[in-house]
């Protein structure tokens, strides 16, 4: 609503960010800049630190060292968090109806009751969830829950949307719905950052790719460049579908 007036959160700047847990270095010192627009796919083999990097950006985890800096002049840490949303691999829904889950997210962010109603209805409609709006959210199918998670995120009007392998547990129809949703967010100006294992999906959706191996940022390139002229040996092997060490 008021996001047009307030200065943009982006670009997001990571400087020397590392993450260590129980003596293991899970993220090597990393500098990264996410610009205002576009769809970025974070890719890499298992254990590369993709989800970790995303959680650090979103503020769910604090880096062991280094800084995560949002532009957004003068915005408080809380409003910075409120202008982001994240969709997880397995969405967590509250034990209430689908519609009530969307309303809950709005109420937490202090949206007035009357506005909550129409914004939740709008989100439900936007993602084609009207037939199941009043069903308990936790008994919906995986694909329906993921669409609901997207609707919930959309209702919050985030400036940036993080998605952690949102399609890895879904069937092709549901995957298509999620990919369409990504385009919906994108067309409305939401910055997309997403992890995926699916090379085809990355080619379809990405503007650029961040490629991680073993907690190291190996490559950051526009999607065509990444797939057609990978600069590193690891990326070359990865786009060929080979195992990367």
């Amino acid at each position: 609503m008021n996001r047009a007036e307030s200065p943009s959160l982006l670009p997001l700047e990571l400087q020397g960010v590392t993450f260590r847990h129980r003596g293991l270095t899970l993220l090597e010192p990393m500098d990264l800049r996410l610009e205002r627009n576009g769809k970025t796919m974070i890719m890499g083999p298992n254990g590369a630190g993709k989800s970790l990097l995303m959680r650090i950006c979103h503020g769910l985890l604090r880096p062991t060292s280094g800084s995560v800096r949002w532009a957004g002049n003068g915005a408080t840490p809380e409003t910075i968090r409120q202008r982001q949303a994240m969709v997880f691999q397995r969405p967590v829904m509250l034990r209430r109806s689908a519609l009530a889950n969307v309303r809950y997210a709005l109420s937490v962010q202090g949206v007035p009751r009357s506005e909550r109603r129409w914004r939740a209805d709008e989100a439900i409609e936007r993602f084609g969830l009207q037939p199941i709006a009043h069903r308990p959210a936790r008994v919906l199918s995986g694909g329906e829950q993921q669409r609901l998670a997207l609707a919930r995120a959309w209702a919050l009007r985030p400036e940036i949307l993080f998605m952690d392998e949102p399609t890895s547990a879904l069937d092709p129809t549901a995957i298509k719905a999620v990919e369409e949703a990504v385009e919906t967010f994108h067309s409305e100006g939401t910055r997309i950052v997403m992890t995926t294992h699916d090379l085809g999906q990355a080619r379809r959706l990405a503007d650029d790719v961040i490629f991680l191996v073993n907690g190291r940022l190996v490559e950051k390139a526009p999607v065509r460049e990444f797939f057609e002229q990978p600069q590193s040996r690891e990326a070359a092997a990865f786009v060929q579908g080979e195992l990367v060490w």
């Binding site: 968090r81 982001q84 997880f88 034990r95 209430r96 308990p136 008994v139």
Partner: protein
């Protein structure tokens, strides 16, 4: 014995006023204690589940240990507090139903708090990232988690009710088992058995058993149905 059973059933079927009075008071005391204890213990358990603070481990161990607090000890503690010379003696609560409610609260508050702490901690584990992502404060998360765990917590509250309605030591010490004033099912059973008045003791015992069994059956049915329907 057969005769005692017959008389017991007659007492129940004929709604004997003495028996009804005892049953009513028992329910009043235990239900009031459960409601008050739950109002305090459910948020308390949730808060302990969500917050890290120094001595948290100790608090959890103490709460868990207090689940096994012997009713007579709880009764003795409340007795000392409420007796004429005690810190709350001026209110003259000893040997009143209020004193019995207080004693039962002391008894079941740790049970409800400790068990709800476990339930909420498990749920928090599942919800944590999502709620943090939605920028839900811990304070705000407490009612959310309590509501989402409502079916598990129903069982927790009933465990408290079971304990309250079945114990005899605490209410005997602070209530005094005064006929028509503080005589509840368990204290009446103890007394009547001692006097050899087996029919009344048996009748009360049967009602107590039925009551606890039916409350738990209802809770089970509600819980299962709700879990199936709401996931």
């Amino acid at each position: 014995m057969d005769n005692a059973f017959q008389v017991a059933f007659q007492l129940i079927v004929s709604m004997d006023p003495v028996l009804i009075g005892i049953v009513t008071l028992s329910l009043q005391v235990s239900l009031t204690a459960v409601v008050i204890a739950s109002l305090i213990a459910l948020p308390l358990g949730a808060a302990i589940a969500l917050w890290q603070f120094p001595g948290r481990g100790l608090v959890i161990v103490v709460l868990n240990a207090l689940m096994g607090l012997p009713p007579v000890v709880a009764g003795l503690m409340v007795y000392l507090m409420l007796s004429r010379a005690g810190p709350l003696g001026q209110f003259g609560l000893l040997f009143t139903p209020t004193a019995m409610v207080i004693a039962q609260i002391v008894l079941i508050l740790p049970i409800v708090a400790a068990l709800s702490r476990q339930v909420i901690e498990e749920l928090w584990w599942e919800y944590r990232e999502q709620l943090q992502s939605l920028v839900v404060s811990r304070l705000r998360a407490i009612p959310t988690l309590l509501w989402d765990a409502r079916f598990s917590l129903l069982t927790v509250v009933l465990a408290g009710f079971g304990r309250a309605s079945a114990e005899v030591g605490a209410v005997l010490i602070v209530g005094g088992n005064i006929a028509g004033v503080t005589r509840v099912m368990t204290t009446a059973i103890a007394l009547e058995t001692n006097k050899g008045n087996l029919p009344l003791a048996l009748g009360l015992g049967i009602i107590l058993l039925l009551l606890v069994a039916s409350v738990n059956a209802v809770a089970y049915v509600i819980g299962e149905a709700a879990k199936r329907r709401l996931g």
